[in-house]
Amino acid sequence: MLHTVNKSPFERNALESCLRLAKKGSAIILFEDGVYGAMAGTAKSDMVASRTGDYEFYVLGPDLAARGIAEDQIIGGVKVVDYGGFVDLAADKGTVQSWL
């Protein structure tokens, strides 16, 4: 399964709920305001950083760039993809579940 999260973890509980209910081994892509959850060195970084063994994490590059986040500010183990990569994940990982 592919889970998508488009909310900042500072504002809503979408990422928290996703991490509670996504089966281990699933792929998770952070996009739109969700990309803030992929940043290293924030008060919320640990949510993703502590789970890189359980899930494959991805973050949408165009949304990072739009928000002025450089790729070297991203948590280790989180892969940056473009829209084409997002499409590939949706195609390859099975059912897509959006955490809005």
Binding site: M1, N13, S17, R20, L21, A22, K23, S26, T95, V96, Q97, S98, W99, L100
Partner: protein
């Protein structure tokens, strides 16, 4: 452009994930409308309430003073469809109405607080159900 899919004989499991409280926004009502339509297609469905979505089916809602339609009674149709599907052997349709235990308890609710009969599942159990879905719709 009239467009037709070939869906003859296709059977899938739809999961409707309700995560938002009623009335503050329209999301709860419009997911409910989608659930009701699904019955016409005789598909399997999980109607799941997690996070603030569990407030959608809390008993005793009275919306008169906020100028909105009370749609709590409409959830009764989901229960009716589920019972119908369970009873009628000619229909190959399994419906489940599920509340996540962790979300329910975090909000100080128990099974008795709900307008419709629900299955209470733990996060781990619900994760399995979600993982087995073909289509997930919700907020």
């Amino acid at each position: 452009m009239a467009f037709e899919f070939d869906t003859e004989g296709v059977k899938k499991t739809f999961t409707f994930l309700n995560r938002k409280a009623p009335y503050g926004t329209i999301y709860a009502l419009e997911v409910l409308e989608t659930v009701l339509i699904t019955a016409a297609f005789e598909q399997h469905a999980n109607i799941v309430f997690i996070d603030d979505g569990v407030y959608q089916i809390k008993k005793g809602q009275d919306t008169k003073a906020v100028n909105m339609k009370n749609f709590l009674p409409t959830y009764g149709i989901i229960e009716m469809e589920k019972d119908d599907a369970d009873e009628d052997e000619d229909i190959d349709m399994v419906w489940r109405i599920i509340v996540e235990k962790e979300s329910m308890e975090a909000r100080g609710l128990t099974e008795d607080d709900f307008k419709v009969g629900v299955e209470v599942l733990s996060s781990a159990e619900l994760a399995e159900v979600l993982d087995q879905s073909d289509v997930v719709i919700g907020g």
